[in-house]
Amino acid sequence: MLLENLRIALRSILANPMRSFLTTLGIIIGVAAVIGVVSIVQGLNFWIAGQLQGVGATYIRVDPRQDPTDPDLVGRGVTLTYEDGFALLERVPELEAFTPIAFRSDRVRRRDRTSTPFILGVGSSFQEVTNTWVERGRFLTAIDEHSNARVCVIGDKVAEDLELGVDPLGAEITIGANVFTVVGVMEKLGQILGANRDSLVVIPFTTAREMYGEESVKQFFRLDFKARSADAVARAKDLMSEILRRRHGLTGTMANDFEVTLQEELLETTSSILGAVTKVVGAVVGIALLVGGIGIMNIMLVTVRERTREIGIRKAVGARRADVLVQFLIEAVTLSALGGAIGIGGGWGLGAIGASAIPGFPSAHVPLWAILLGFGFATAVGVFFGVYPAAKAASVDPIEALRYE
């Protein structure tokens, strides 16, 4: 009986392929939107979680704060300095180590080979603070820092791009206009969903400052700290804020021109952003599915009207109310479930295209639960919006229906 209804439903849906497609378009777009956004958000989530996993609960990060809408901060550039880092380390007993981190992208050459990795200007404590370690050779030392040495530690991807062979140590590579000696190779971090984290060159912060200039280096600049214990981070944060305010000459109610963030706060921020995105998506999807469902209800009402005579015939030869109800309900559900299936495929493609269109963005990832959710929602919409037309079909009077032209 169920199989029979499915056959009838498919026949009726395929009898008007264009109409069926347009009817389910709302569902298709709704489900595609869910899958598309979920896949991108999930990719992002994996990426961020992967980045934060490495650092432990003792991680504290200080970013310069720039907010043009805050009157206290108008006209102030980045006031955070490398020297702030030393001052904090010296005066906050809870802190164990720190490293400045300056990011930029630059071209690296060796003979005719080039690569465009991230250039990280860091301190000698970078390894322990960020929990990222050198694998071969050595890391940068305090002496390298003091002497603005032209030495670098490279990521696996760079060694590969520049064809440095099995032993890159001692090789000379050119960053911008300066020749550097490779002293180490970082451990392989691998790709996290499309973003290659091994495409990097680590140089002393002081060297980066000399090469690119103070202002240029500060464009993407922060200070990372490691506390002595996880229990001490909250106290350390307060003290750090106090010292930085004094060093930056902030008095009274003036706003901070820096931001101190603990690892747990980073995780919280991440999950709250993702949560907000999910809520917005949920609302959009709800509306899309509502509209899609109304579309299905509308066309099912038309279908019931068009097929009044068929209903009359079926009733005359013995179909009960329930038989007719189930037949049209299955037709509505089949319609919406097909829409859901097409939407899942479309959303998958959308996520993949969206993620690959943004350079460096983690690739899309569609979890099974999203597929089941999308399909389940589509089906539920079919049931919900199919009941009324089906009930209408079931209550058709066979005598009237057989006379219907």
């Binding site: 009986m1 199989l3 029979e4 026949r11 009898a15 005579r309 068929e310 009359g312 015939i313 079926r314 009733k315 005359a316 030869v317 013995g318 179909a319 009960r320 109310r321 329930a322 038989d323 066979p398 005598i399 057989l402």
Partner: protein, 227 residues
Amino acid sequence: MLIEIRDLVKVYDMGSVQVRALDGVDFSVERGEYVAIMGPSGSGKSTLMNLIGCLDTPSSGSYTLNDQLVNELDDDALARIRNREIGFVFQTFNLLARTSALENVEVPLIYSGVSRQERHQRARKMLELVGLSDRMHHQPSELSGGQRQRVAVARALINEPSILLADEPTGNLDSRTGTEIMALFDELNRQGNTIVLVTHEEDIASHARRVVRLRDGKILEDRVRES
């Protein structure tokens, strides 16, 4: 007695006026009979047919079919009786469009819960019986009027009903095809099927052995023809 109708009344409420479509009809049919119900339009013959066919319920009076009091049954039970006991043949054929002859004949069996395989088998046999073994996979739009009515007859007979109920079965056919269909009915009656025929044509009614004439919701005449 197969059909036993006592003082059957059907009143239609048309807003301010009440129309008594049937006004106290007594009528019975034995197994194997061949009855024609005649009357001008508005005489109540369609109403009587709908009641006999369990498509409608009376306002008062009793209707017993196969020792079962039909006028007290609910919707689902009536559907079941239509499925098992009644075979309809309509003036306008009433076949499902875009559905093959074979599948059209199978429809009643779907609602009796017969398996797909058995449905195919029985429908095939029934189409052979009405002489359409070479048209089984044609859709109604590809069949002539006479062939369509044969499909409808096959559908009506598929569940071996107690009554074959035909409403102007030749109304949409040319006279030659009409004669062929009536010959089919005559043959089915000879084989023991009970047939109730609703018509306004004397020619058609002359095939039946008994003619019941209705006027204004009442039986005017109930006569067995001398053969």
